[in-house]
């Protein structure tokens, strides 16, 4: 389209002009990548090799922040808390989302209303939902959940959902399920994108509903689900808000059971002003995210089905 006769201006190569215009449109993001991403990344990597306890200047110390990190039991705890949260809550959220999506995928009246109302909690800001769940799951007899559990004689004493170190993380995982509507929508879109004739064909061949799901539906929607799972894991490795609101501070209480990596980084960088140590922890997190993402995409080549010419 660039070389329509009579349009090209004299003396300029239209293709080159298009390229120049393209870079003009790209200018904001190119500047942004440089100023807000690339340069800070380089500086941050450098800081991770320094002792930089504000207000003292940064001093190069080689890799000792990293060796300290890997002998710091609180850092291992943060890693454990974060990884457990990610590997439990992401599949669980996808499973609950799928369950609801399958129910909604029937032709039933009012399907749109159900879909909208179940999706609604997924858009509620975490600061607000954490406050609400902290109240509903309060540890006393007056807490709503405990009241119901005791009323139904499922418990004789109240559960300290968020205040007992052995239940706090699981309670946060439970709380995250309130937002399952997001993955429900993704599954539902996927389920409805499967061509009906494939189902008809398999029905003729006598395949049951479960067989159809695993043999037809899942392969077709696997790229979408994979992409969402990866984004979900990247997001859940960076849990922050829930921990702060539930603990009431950035110490991961009770007893570090909610001390996610981002909370650890925040506490060291902005609590005790150890910028170098915080930067090193952030780079460890980045390394984990990279490994997880690459691993996922590598593994996915075996079982993810990409429709021909789709990407």
């Amino acid at each position: 389209m660039a070389d329509i006769p009579g349009i090209a201006k004299t003396g300029h190569n239209p293709r080159r002009r298009e390229a120049a215009a393209g870079y003009g449109f790209m200018l904001p993001v190119i500047l942004g990548l440089l100023i807000w991403t690339l340069i800070p990344m380089v500086i941050s990597l450098y800081y991770s090799f320094t002792r930089y306890n504000l207000p003292k200047p940064a001093k190069f110390i080689g890799g000792s922040n990293y060796t300290t990190l890997f002998s710091d039991s609180t850092f291992y705890n943060s890693l454990k808390v974060t990884v457990v949260f990610a590997i439990v809550s992401v599949p669980l959220g996808l499973a609950v989302g799928l369950l609801i999506a399958v129910l909604l995928n029937q032709r039933i009246p009012g399907m749109r209303i159900f879909r909208t109302l179940i999706y609604l909690p997924a858009v509620i800001p975490l600061v607000a939902s954490a406050v609400v769940f902290k109240d509903m799951m309060s540890p006393s007899n007056y807490g709503l959940f405990n009241y119901i559990l005791m009323k139904l004689h499922l418990r004789s004493t109240p559960i300290e959902f968020f205040t007992n170190p052995s239940t706090a993380l699981w309670s946060v995982i439970f709380m995250a399920l309130w937002g399952s509507g997001g993955s429900m929508l993704v599954w539902l879109a996927g389920l409805q994108s499967v061509p009906e004739d494939l189902y008809e064909a398999s029905r003729v061949d006598g395949a049951g509903a479960i067989r159809r799901f695993f043999a037809i539906t899942l392969p077709i929607i696997s790229p979408t689900i994979l992409f969402n799972a990866v984004l979900g894991i990247i997001g859940s490795l960076q849990v922050f808000i829930q921990s702060l609101v539930i603990s009431g501070s950035a110490n991961g209480s009770p007893l570090g059971s909610l001390d996610f990596i981002d909370v650890f980084i925040y506490r060291h960088s902005f609590g005790t002003l150890q910028m170098g140590y915080g930067a090193a922890a952030a780079w460890v997190l980045f390394a984990i995210v990279l490994v997880v993402t690459l691993l996922f995409f590598r593994l996915s080549r075996r079982w993810v089905f990409y429709q021909g010419g789709d990407r």
Binding site: E18, V29, P40, S44, I124, L126, Q192, F227
Partner: protein, 302 residues
């Protein structure tokens, strides 16, 4: 991507099914009744916290500490809101948050649409490289760049101002927005902008007069998602806003327990939570059709 044709297939199937003579559409088999019952119960579970935040925010402290539980206050305690409002200047926080949200949305949507337009429509060397570079920043945890940015903002004298929260939005508007808008622009037939080019329209004219009006729903979805993330952000305000008169609503919720007057239960913080949730719920019902379509088209929910 095959998403557009997917939607068409879906619509076509619906039309086919609706027109099927004597179709099974209205027959209430026990199985379908069971599904509806399960769905009604599930929906009630998902909606219950909304009921709870309203109920709690209007209760007295005594009602909160009564067994059996009070499900709905006998007298609605509207003055809880004025008590909460006496604790801190929440109206001011509300305006701060609204201002930040408005500017971040304006910056993100305008710059992301420019970039998405270039990526979808224009040919220039390195286009794939830049697209991949933008997408790969989705993997970068915010904490990696946070410390240098904090120190840079400190040197610029931007700490305790809204600039660190607002200015970066004008530089690309985030990988997700760019990705989403690019998908939408790729779905627009090229005939219109080629016709405009024959008439001598420049790229900026095509972007402004043809593409932007066509992708209004997508712009609304990006604006909504960006606004939502900004509205509920705690990390940025916590780090960059130090003096309490500059806080945002989300930050004030986190800080509230330290300021709470004694003798009160959770009703006051619930009042603030309700104020954070209400605009989101209202906006959601206005935009939900487009939001759901956005998920259908991109296959991603955020």
């Amino acid at each position: 991507m095959a998403v557009a044709e997917t939607l068409q297939q879906y619509e076509a199937r619906r039309a086919r099914l609706a027109g099927r003579p004597g179709g099974r559409r209205r027959r209430w088999t026990p199985g379908r009744i069971a599904i509806v019952v399960v769905l009604v119960i599930t929906t009630c579970f998902f909606l219950f916290p909304f009921f709870w935040v309203v109920s709690t925010s209007l209760q007295t402290t005594v009602e909160q500490q009564t067994l059996p539980k009070v499900w709905w206050p006998s007298v609605l305690q509207w003055h809880n809101f004025s008590v909460a409002w006496a604790v801190a200047p929440f109206t001011t926080y509300l305006w701060h948050t609204a201002l930040i949200v408005a500017l971040v949305v304006a910056g993100s949507v305008s710059s992301a649409s420019l970039v998405a337009f270039a990526l979808a429509r224009m040919r220039f060397p390195g286009r794939e490289f830049w697209f991949n570079a933008i997408l790969s920043t989705m993997m970068l945890p915010g904490t990696v760049t946070l410390i240098p940015l904090y120190l840079i903002f400190k040197d610029l004298g931007w700490l305790d101002t809204y600039l660190p929260l607002i200015v970066p939005a004008f530089f690309g508007g985030g990988p997700f927005n760019i990705f989403l808008l690019r998908q939408f622009i790729l779905g627009i037939p090229r005939d219109m902008d080629e016709a405009a080019r024959v008439d001598g329209a420049g790229w900026l004219r095509i972007y402004w007069n043809i593409v932007l009006p066509t992708i209004k729903p997508a712009l609304a979805v990006t604006a909504w998602m960006t606004g939502l993330a900004t509205w509920g952000d705690l990390f940025g305000p916590l780090i960059f806003l130090t003096s309490s008169q500059k806080w945002t609503l989300a930050l004030s919720i986190y800080e509230f327990p330290q300021m709470q007057p004694t003798g009160w239960g959770s009703q006051l913080v619930m009042c603030i939570a309700l104020v954070v949730m209400l605009p989101v719920v209202i906006g959601f019902f206005f935009l939900q059709r487009w939001l759901i379509e956005g998920v259908n088209l991109t296959g991603v929910s955020r």
